[in-house]
């Protein structure tokens, strides 16, 4: 039980890369997406406000226009990565039982992919028609 722990060099232990096994990558991506989220959120809120009170045809047309679609896609990608890491941090902070932690981390990944792809599907359908 304790033997393998002792053969590990300090470097190997460092490469164990923490509770989420991802080293500083999560930390960095959380910051990267946080910075990206600022202009993207402001843009998304402005887009939303201009669409309020319009009928479906107008909303679909504006959301499906190239510039708006691209901004919304960037917004969706950035917040999805950001919120997946953020929720993983919350889970790691409060859930210490290893199997519950893994289950919740999996559920987190499933949820973020599902909701992210659903949003991408909606915007692409508006943009490409079909």
């Amino acid at each position: 039980m304790s033997a393998p722990k002792h053969i590990r060099t300090p470097l190997a232990r460092v490469l164990g890369r923490g509770a989420a096994r991802s080293g500083t990558e999560h930390f960095w991506h959380q910051r990267l997406t946080a910075v990206a989220n600022i202009p993207l959120t402001i843009a998304a809120v402005i887009i939303l406000i201009t669409l309020l009170g319009r009928n479906q045809a107008a909303v679909a047309q504006i959301l499906g226009s190239p510039a708006v679609t691209i901004i919304m896609l960037l917004f969706i990608f950035s917040i999805t990565i950001h919120m997946r890491i953020g929720m993983a941090v919350i889970i790691e902070d409060y859930v210490h039982d290893e199997s519950s932690k893994l289950t919740l981390l999996m559920a987190n990944t499933f949820f973020t992919f599902a909701v992210g792809l659903a949003a991408v599907y909606g915007i692409l359908k508006l943009s490409f028609g079909l």
């Binding site: 946080a34 959120t41 809120v45 009170g53 479906q56 969706i76 919350i90 949003a119 508006l126």
Partner: protein, 139 residues
């Protein structure tokens, strides 16, 4: 090694361990830290609304259903809360990014940033909603 073992074997002295949350007077900086986490958590589930909105926009029927929800009082309440959570979390995030550069840790700066976070988020949320309700003629 032997030294450590004998130390461990001794009964630990009765001294206070880490401070407990309950013995702190609630402080603004502390509340804003918790608020950042709670708003992040709420925004996480709120993305369901974003996905719904985008998919609803595909068809007139779907959009009518979304608009009915968004116009109902419970829908309005959720959207109002979501606006505040988003703005609050964004300002709180900017505060975190300032800290990441090593700045803003002084006692007065911390207080100032926390207050700006709270007042700013409430002000911006109200301004946005008043603007929207006025331009939409209260519909």
């Amino acid at each position: 090694m032997a030294e450590t073992r004998s130390l461990e074997a001794r009964t630990p002295a009765e001294r206070p361990l880490s401070p407990h949350l309950q013995i702190y007077r609630p402080m603004l900086t502390m509340m804003m830290s918790i608020a950042h986490r709670i708003t992040g958590f709420a925004l996480y589930f709120g993305t369901l609304l974003l996905a719904w909105w985008l998919i609803a926009a595909v068809s007139p029927n779907g959009y009518a259903r979304f608009q009915w929800f968004a116009g109902s009082w419970i829908g309005r309440l959720i959207l109002f809360g979501y606006t505040w959570a988003l703005i609050h979390h964004m300002l709180g995030g900017i505060r975190h990014l300032i800290w990441d550069t090593g700045r803003g840790f002084g006692p007065s700066e911390r207080e100032w940033l926390a207050a700006a976070n709270l007042i700013g988020s409430i002000a911006i949320t109200l301004i946005l909603w008043i603007f929207v309700l006025l331009t939409m003629g209260g519909s």
